[in-house]
């Protein structure tokens, strides 16, 4: 992409070749009105208000690409007329309920109506019945809707649920008299507007999606609103606390909107979560899982003294990765001072995986991030239930497919209708559990540079190829000459006579041919379908940016060391850049900061997990701790970024720092440790208060800082072991959460109503004799769990999913690290 210079309203503007005019203008602080366009999504062309004049021709700024030397005028007399007419049309039959509308002044219709100076109405049309719809967590009021289709675009191009579409509105046509009297674009816009409203793709009035709420966030008017927020508060009363979502490793930018709880209760309460939806998209957990704070905690001195005693007695601190970098560093410092063992199994596995990876790759961290995935056009995902492990990774995959005309390859044992529903260009391979290595070998085989690869590797890969002869039926067109008798009038005699005429015809004919084709045994092992190579070839056309996402299934894999090395080799010998999904919120940060141990000692302090003495932000431990929305600190995200988060709600109790201070550390606030984060692994010496948290107009993320990818000594040893033939068969369980759930904190949130239990697909329930709601006992060689069956239509196939978000279920006991296990399930 080359840099070009365009001229907007007399201002020289530098931009990229092929950038839309609107984005170029926005990046340079030039205002062009636009309603329906969403950055990162494809242009919708519904509002037509972004009309500009480029080199004397009227174009839509949201879909016209900038060319070198282009002269652009943002407003001409005609364009001003068009825009005013468009805003007048939007105001036709729009209820004057601004006083009670939940958009409460954040309304783009209101803003642009005032901006265009609309002070009278010249158009009219009969209104139709537009009663509102209750779509569960979302409420839709067609009366307020201006059908800009931003919700549809976000759902399709970003989220990938494709749950919304425009449906016929019914009612009158725009009167013909307006055709002549109205500006052209305004008329065309109105014509389309008068025919449609927003509806659901599934044809019913029940919204069945992954419930991210992004449609309500992008809605410029109050048509789509979060049900829980309806008539709760005016937007202008809310104070926005810039923060980072603490539920998964995506580290999304969010703002907690807080206000006093009620007239009687002046304590702050979070009313909703907002995001910069042009640059970041949230999942349902981020948007609706906000009230997980440890409320009404006071300083319980007795419990605190007991905690200090326990710390003096203990030899192990067990903790989860829902922890800030600062507290992780504090734990590490405690370890150095008092010799505690630090135990965090899931972070330890990731740490080990990263180490094995860097031995071959030579870098401390993986090389890519989700932003690069967004911009790529071929994405492979291995070892992750993408939609639940990191919803943002799913959005990135979907976004690359829809906007960049990309394609994807998804390797996972659990059939996932959400991933399959992303589009035609995603290929899913449901291999058997434990076969992730084979998938990596396949990637090396399909995309690797066999010349540069180590000899043994290319030889090993070649051993799976054989030639086989297959019979293919092709349809070819054959020329057939026919003799037809026609009746013709003899010109001379005037009589009709029969003449024999020769005619040639093309007739399709099926031909069987014997063709020698390459037979790839790896495909067979993985269980890819017969047309795999054919489809892949088609999908690979015009692809030049390759990204690979690897997930938590691999970190605990019995052969994780070999897998990590394979991942590094994929990066080395193919065009793929790798992004790893850290298991939990700050797994990456913990893996970098803490020196973790494997086994617990005799007396354990549990931090947000069960121990002999438990510190808990869930309110069920021996001493209360602040939850993530009550803390300030930094979190390390999948994008290798250290993001700051602020406290949204007050907390009256003790925190880890108080205990540390009682044990001889000296820090007034825990954020004093931000500048001490280890620079050897890539952190920077920066004060917490200097860390920014916002996006610039051109989409540049100015949040915290990016970790430096420190080079490490790599060994020249690139040998990898052959893949093992082990695979799990029969009745299998998988440890994963349903959509919108991650940890006990999301489970605690009132708006997230997923039930805990054993998740089975509709398919599986139909073919087995289990029924929803029945109690079953799941037993593996490691442990057993009893719970009720929950039917989940977001999974398919026979693998039973056991969630981890409810720690009372104790599902971790079912497996030995690796997320899959063979199990017997029986009714109780």
């Amino acid at each position: 992409m080359s840099k070009i210079v365009i001229n907007i309203d007399g201002k020289e503007v530098q931009t990229q070749e092929g950038e839309y005019i609107l984005n170029a203008a926005r990046a340079n602080d030039i205002f062009i009105p636009a309603i329906c366009y969403l950055t990162r999504c494809s242009p919708t062309l519904a509002c037509r208000i972004c009309l500009v004049e480029a080199d004397g021709k009227q174009v839509y700024a949201c879909n016209a690409k900038a060319k070198d030397g282009m002269n652009i005028t943002t407003t001409t007399e005609n364009i001003a007329k068009e825009r005013r007419a468009i805003m007048e049309v939007y105001d036709v039959n729009h209820p004057l309920q601004c006083g009670v509308c939940d958009q409460s002044g954040e309304c783009e219709l209101q803003n642009y109506t005032l901006e265009m100076g609309v002070d009278s109405q010249s158009y009219a049309i009969k209104d139709v019945d537009r009663s509102s719809h209750d779509w569960g967590h979302i409420h839709y009021d067609p009366g307020l809707c201006i059908v800009c289709e931003r919700c549809v675009t976000a759902c399709k191009d970003m989220i990938g649920d494709n749950s919304l579409k425009t449906i016929p509105r019914g009612g009158d046509k725009v009167a013909d008299e307006f055709k002549a009297s109205m500006p052209k674009d305004a008329y065309a816009m109105w014509n389309k507007l008068s025919k449609s409203v927003i509806g659901l793709t599934n044809g019913t009035d029940v919204l069945d999606c992954t419930s991210c709420g992004e449609c309500a966030a992008v809605c410029p008017v109050g048509a789509l609103v979060d049900t829980h927020f309806m008539y709760k508060s005016n937007a202008w009363e809310l104070k926005q606390i810039p923060a980072t979502c603490g539920h998964c490793s995506a580290g999304c930018q969010i703002s907690y909107d807080v206000k006093h709880t009620s007239i009687e209760n002046p304590e702050d309460k979070i009313y909703r979560v907002m995001n910069e939806w042009n640059y970041v998209s949230l999942c349902g957990a981020g948007r609706y899982g906000f009230d997980y704070q440890n409320a009404d905690v006071t300083k319980d001195e007795e419990a605190f003294n007991k905690a200090v005693e326990a710390f003096k007695k203990a030899d192990t601190i067990k903790f989860t990765s829902t922890i800030t970098n600062e507290e992780a560093l504090l734990l590490q410092k405690m370890k150095e001072k008092f010799g505690y063992k630090l135990v965090n199994n899931e972070a330890k596995a990731f740490q080990r995986f990263l180490k094995d990876y860097s031995e071959v790759s030579g870098t401390k961290l993986y090389t890519s991030d989700l932003k690069a995935v967004h911009n790529s056009n071929f994405v492979v995902s291995i070892g992750s239930a993408l939609k639940t492990d990191n919803p943002n990774a799913r959005y990135a995959l979907n976004n690359s497919m829809t906007v960049n005309k990309g394609a994807g390859l998804y390797f996972h044992p659990v059939k996932d209708p959400i991933i399959e529903g992303l589009g035609k260009s995603i290929m899913t391979v449901n291999h058997a559990p434990l076969q992730e290595e084979v998938a990596l070998y396949l990637v090396l085989d399909l995309f690797g540079d066999k010349e540069k690869m180590p000899k043994e590797m290319s030889k090993y890969l070649a051993s799976f190829h054989s030639e086989k002869t297959v019979t293919v039926t092709e349809t070819i067109k054959e020329k057939v000459v026919e003799k037809v008798i026609e009746k013709k009038v003899n010109k001379e005699t005037g009589e009709e006579e029969e003449v024999e005429v020769e005619k040639t015809k093309m007739v399709p004919k099926k031909v069987s041919k014997e063709v020698v084709v390459d037979d790839n045994k790896l495909l067979e092992i993985l269980g890819a379908d017969a047309k795999f190579m054919e489809t892949l070839e088609k999908n690979l056309k015009k692809k030049d940016d390759f990204q690979m996402i690897v997930g938590p299934d691999l970190y605990n894999h019995p052969n994780s060391k070999n897998i990590a090395r394979l991942v590094a080799l994929v990066e080395k010998y193919t065009a793929f850049k790798v992004t790893m999904i850290p298991t939990l919120t700050n797994t990456l940060g913990v893996a970098l900061i803490c020196d973790l141990d494997d086994e617990c000692g005799s007396y354990t302090i549990g931090y947000n997990t069960q121990g002999d003495f438990t510190l808990s932000a869930l309110g069920d431990g021996d001493l209360d701790m602040p939850a993530m929305n009550q803390q300030e600190g930094t979190l390390t995200s999948i994008n290798k970024r250290v993001n700051p988060t602020n406290a949204a709600i007050g907390y009256g109790g003790y925190e880890l720092n108080d205990i540390a201070n009682a044990l001889g550390f000296e820090a007034k606030y825990v954020i004093e440790y931000t500048k001490e984060l280890p620079t050897t692994v890539g952190f920077k010496t920066q004060e917490f208060d200097d860390l920014p948290n916002y996006y610039e107009n051109d989409g540049t993320e100015v949040r915290g800082y990016v970790l430096e990818n420190v080079a490490v000594d790599a060994s020249d040893d690139e040998t990898v072991e052959k893949f093992s033939d082990d695979k799990l068969e029969g009745s299998i369980i998988y440890l994963a959460n349903p959509v919108r759930q991650f940890t006990d904190f999301t489970y605690k949130a009132t708006e997230l109503d997923e039930v805990s239990g054993i998740y089975m697909s509709e398919e599986y329930l139909a073919s087995s004799d289990f029924n929803e709601g029945e109690t079953v006992k799941v037993k593996t060689e490691y442990g057993e769990v009893s719970a009720n069956i929950v039917c989940d239509n977001k999974i398919k196939g026979d693998i039973v999913v056991v969630p981890t978000f409810d720690s009372k279920l104790n599902s971790e006991a079912l497996v030995n690290g690796y997320r899959f296990a063979a199990a017997s399930i029986e009714k109780v």
């Binding site: 006083g99 009670v100 409460s104 002070d119 009278s120 109405q121 010249s122 158009y123 009219a124 049309i125 009969k126 509102s132 009158d172 009167a175 309806m230 008539y231 709760k232 508060s233 005016n234 202008w236 009363e237 926005q240 606390i241 810039p242 006093h260 009620s262 007239i263 602020n646 606030y669 208060d689 920014p692 948290n693 916002y694």
Partner: protein, 205 residues
């Protein structure tokens, strides 16, 4: 977005400053001098003279408050009232929150919720009369002419903060039924000839 507001953790520091006040006398002599100075300044006699003068004039206009009360002008801004709709006797307030927003002494608070008929319902509305400066902005901004000022100016209380609740302000239903609700004529009320200034919106019916 600037993060400064979040980064200042020192809650004791605010926008407070000390003003210049002459130092108080510390010793006995200084205090004595102050007493003498205040006593013989003669200001006492100015006041006494005014009382004397008015007493011998015999045309006193003093009203015997609280037995007697002056009529109050319709535009007077005293304790707030909540009006009802003439058509249906229901509350005019739609809970838009503009009064809460515009209030410069920050004394209005509203709690709202969605009711069974999917309408916005005001669950509680308070005005802290101890803070209210009776500026009239709330009445002016109200799009429904719901909150207005009334003529009730006796709002002394034994506490600095005292609150007016929704039901205190709302026109009693019996008074409403009797047609005795008074319209407010002050800030925010409809000006004469309003109808002539309204532009009509075309309709397709």
């Amino acid at each position: 977005m600037s993060l400064e507001a979040f980064n200042n953790r020192n809650v004791t520091e605010g926008d407070y400053f000390l003003c210049d006040i002459e130092d108080y006398p510390q010793d006995g002599w200084g205090k004595f001098k102050r007493v003498v100075k205040r006593t013989f300044r003669g200001e006492l006699f100015v006041g006494l003279w005014v009382v004397m003068r008015e007493m011998i004039r015999f045309d006193i206009h003093t009203i015997q408050y609280p037995q007697e009360k002056m009529p109050i002008g319709p535009r007077y801004r005293a304790v707030h009232q909540m009006k009802r709709l003439w058509e249906s006797d229901t509350e005019r307030c739609i809970g838009c929150g503009l009064c809460e927003k515009i209030c410069i002494s920050d004394c209005i608070r509203i709690d709202t919720r969605i009711d069974e008929n999917s309408r916005k319902e005001v669950t509680e509305y308070t005005i802290n009369l101890g803070r209210c400066i009776f500026c009239g902005y709330c009445a002016e901004v109200c799009p429904e002419l719901a909150i207005t000022h009334g003529g009730e100016y006796e709002n002394a209380s034994d506490q600095r903060e005292h609150f007016l609740l929704y039901e205190d302000m709302l026109t009693p239903i019996d008074k409403m039924k009797a047609g005795k609700q008074l319209e407010f004529e002050g800030f925010g009320s409809i000006t004469p000839h309003e109808d002539e200034r309204v532009k009509k919106t075309p309709l397709a019916y």
